[in-house]
């Protein structure tokens, strides 16, 4: 048996022994394990699962051991992911620090910063949020204006961020700030880490079309930020910002952490709601065709993901393919959401009214929530701009 096969077997055994049964069901929103100072476990099992994974180093399986990671190779990480998926194990921790900021800090942070922040992420002690967008700077992110003045031993930060997901729940924010107005806009940005408990930081929640209120506007009013909280160099924050975005887009294109998982596949739902005729075909031939188009696209999406991984492992990465993933997967997810609604008909028009089945209502609410997939992390139009320029080399 190769060492990878052995790793797979051991991993499977360990997971089946250590992942409580309740942590193998599709996760509901109120069952998510968030870390942070205000950490509160949704259940005893959830806490057990989190602690076992933390102690194993598998909260961040690919990070170095000294920061609480698992030090696993690319192949081992893939195996762990596959085994967790096949057992249906829930993620042991949700955190933007873990998903987006951590990987960038690994690349750009100082040793002290990594020790301090990465460790707290893997231990689930600090929860992060992302301070990029501003009221005047969305797609044109580099046009941001939140100002950080150099005051000797600290920066003085003034301005505001918007669409900051879970800013009201987070402990720290990784933030893009303007440190130079004399140069081209990308060249005057720095990457700052700010404790949300600092004096002068306030948040106010914003309600979404899905009825949830996940994001906030975040205000900075004369906030003092110690110099050691600068990542990389002054005015070089754009580079770090792009690294974060790379991970963010990969994350969004994987989709599975975003919303409550539906409890049956779109195919099963179609069979159940629309029914089959005497030939075993879906009664509505147009929906049958739409469903097939979606399932085929989904199959291709999954194969693309596998292809990226296999290329990377073979040392022959194709730079174009990953650039297409966010656009392709989020568009397909929205087509799937529309298909869910088409299948449900007049049974799929509410998430508020409890007279309707919970599983239907979840689908409807996901439909509304998922409208943000083609906006967050760089809109679809911006993705197409990036593909056109970087993958296809089309002129400015």
């Amino acid at each position: 048996m190769s060492s990878l096969d052995q790793f797979r077997q051991e991993t499977r055994e360990w997971l089946s022994k250590n992942c409580p049964e309740s942590q193998r069901q599709p996760v509901k929103k109120n069952e998510i394990i968030w870390g942070g100072r205000r950490r509160k476990f949704p259940s005893v099992d959830a806490q057990l699962w989190f602690e076992r994974m933390r102690d194993k180093g598998w909260i961040a399986p690919d990070w170095p051991k000294e920061y609480g990671g698992g030090n696993l190779s690319v192949d081992e990480c893939k195996i762990l992911e596959q085994e967790m998926r096949s057992l249906g194990c829930r993620p042991p921790l949700y955190d933007q620090g873990l998903w987006m900021f951590g990987p960038a800090l690994l690349k750009y942070g100082s040793e002290d910063q990594k020790k301090e922040h990465l460790t707290k992420i893997t231990q689930g002690e600090i929860r992060w949020c992302q301070g990029y967008s501003e009221p005047g700077a969305g797609s044109d992110l580099a046009g941001l204006k939140t100002k950080a003045e150099d005051c000797g031993d600290h920066f003085l930060v003034n301005g505001s961020k918007i669409w900051t997901t879970y800013a009201d729940q987070a402990d720290w924010i990784f933030c893009l700030v303007r440190t130079n107005t004399e140069v081209a806009k990308q060249q005057g940005i720095s990457f700052l880490l700010i404790d949300m408990e600092s004096e002068g930081v306030t948040t106010s929640p914003i309600e979404l079309i899905s009825g949830e209120s996940e994001f906030c506007q975040t205000f900075f009013d004369n906030v003092k930020v110690p110099k050691e909280n600068l990542v990389y160099e002054v005015d070089k924050g754009w580079e770090v910002a792009k690294e974060v975005l790379k991970h963010e887009r990969k994350l969004i294109s994987k989709l599975d952490h975003m919303t409550e998982k539906e409890d049956r596949s779109v195919m099963e739902l179609a069979k159940e709601v629309i029914g089959l005729d005497s030939n075993g075909k879906l009664r509505n031939s147009s929906l049958r065709d739409q469903l097939t188009r979606h399932l085929m696209a989904e199959q291709a999406d999954q194969l693309s993901g596998l292809r990226i991984f296999q290329q990377m492992r073979a040392g022959q990465p194709d730079p174009k393919l990953p650039l297409t993933m966010k656009y392709a997967n989020t568009s397909e997810q929205q087509r799937k959401d529309e298909l869910f609604l088409a299948i449900l008909g007049n049974q799929g028009l509410t998430w508020q009214d409890e007279a309707f089945p919970k599983s239907y209502r979840t689908l409807v609410q996901n439909w509304a929530y998922n409208k943000s997939l083609t906006i967050a992390g760089g809109t679809s139009e911006i993705q197409l701009n990036i593909i056109a320029k970087r993958a296809l080399g089309l002129p400015e």
Binding site: R288, R307, T324, A388
Partner: protein, 378 residues
Amino acid sequence: MNMVLNEEQRLLKDTIQDFLSTNAPVTAFRKLRDTQDNQGYSTELWRHLCELGIAAIVMPEEHGGLGFGYLGLGAVLEECGKNLTASPLLASVVLGASALELAGNETQQSLLDEVASGSLTLALAIDEHSHFDPLQTRTSLTENDSGFTLNGHKVFVLDGHTADRLIVVTRSRGEAGSRDGLSLVMLDSQTPGVKIDRHQLMDGRNVASIQFEQVSLPADALLGELHNGFAVIHTLIDRAAICVAAEMLGSAQEVFDRTLEYLKEREQFGVKIGSFQALQHRCAQMLCQLEHCRSAVVGALAALDKGSRGVSVQASTAKALANDCLQHISNEAVQMHGGMGVTDELDIGLFLKRSRVCNQIFGDSIYHRDRFATLMGY
């Protein structure tokens, strides 16, 4: 399931790429078309390609197979698609040799050596209607004392007028539409009672319609079991759909690359037309579609090599996505070339026309979406 080419497969791809771009570029195909060449492909080119071993890529090893697998064959077909190379690879090897390999007895399979060397060519006569649908086969095969009698009419037979032997899908019992009662036979194309007419389709390639009138066949003309040909046909559909999709992928990539080049070179309003966002976004979407299609095709080729159980579903996905992808990209290519796009001087139109013919080979997208849904049980 591995989707990345290994060292040998990459070498094979490079060799074929070099060979075809020197010996069989699109201009060579244009010449065949313009001279209305009787054969429809260059015999010499086919001989060379067979010397390079491409007809033997997926054959069983005892018949000279090279062990590059379908992933390797797919890479070759992709190159053929890029160059619009006309050759018997599809008809004689992917369809004909596959049928022999799947259904033939030892004597029949001994022909595989000749197919691999190019000295014998095969064609598969399967279609009878406007659309691919083998279950609807009506061409009849009746048993008699000395063997069989064959009657009926086949259309859209690839390389039907040049092949040495024909493999014919027939109905030996039951009603059109039924799985039971399908049988395959193989016969010499010179057999009395066989009337072959070549047709000119818009892609300038080889197709024929074939009339069978009271054709007497010996008992050993039967390929595989009488009445039980469906399983063989089912596997043939998988292989053919995936291989045609691989060729189409190559054509789609090529016509897309040519369009991008044009966008970077043509100027209007004092700027390159490739700087217009309206065109950039459409190109970016085409890349997404192309990569999707590539994943489906390469995944399906890998599934064939692995003998995966879900290969039929993947085959239908690959063909449906390839049909839609090449159709869309070839349309966009014409549009983005402006007036030049509708001239015969440019090759773009050749890809456009080939795309529509390929759509119909072993099933258009509607056929394959229906097949997918049926296989999935809805």
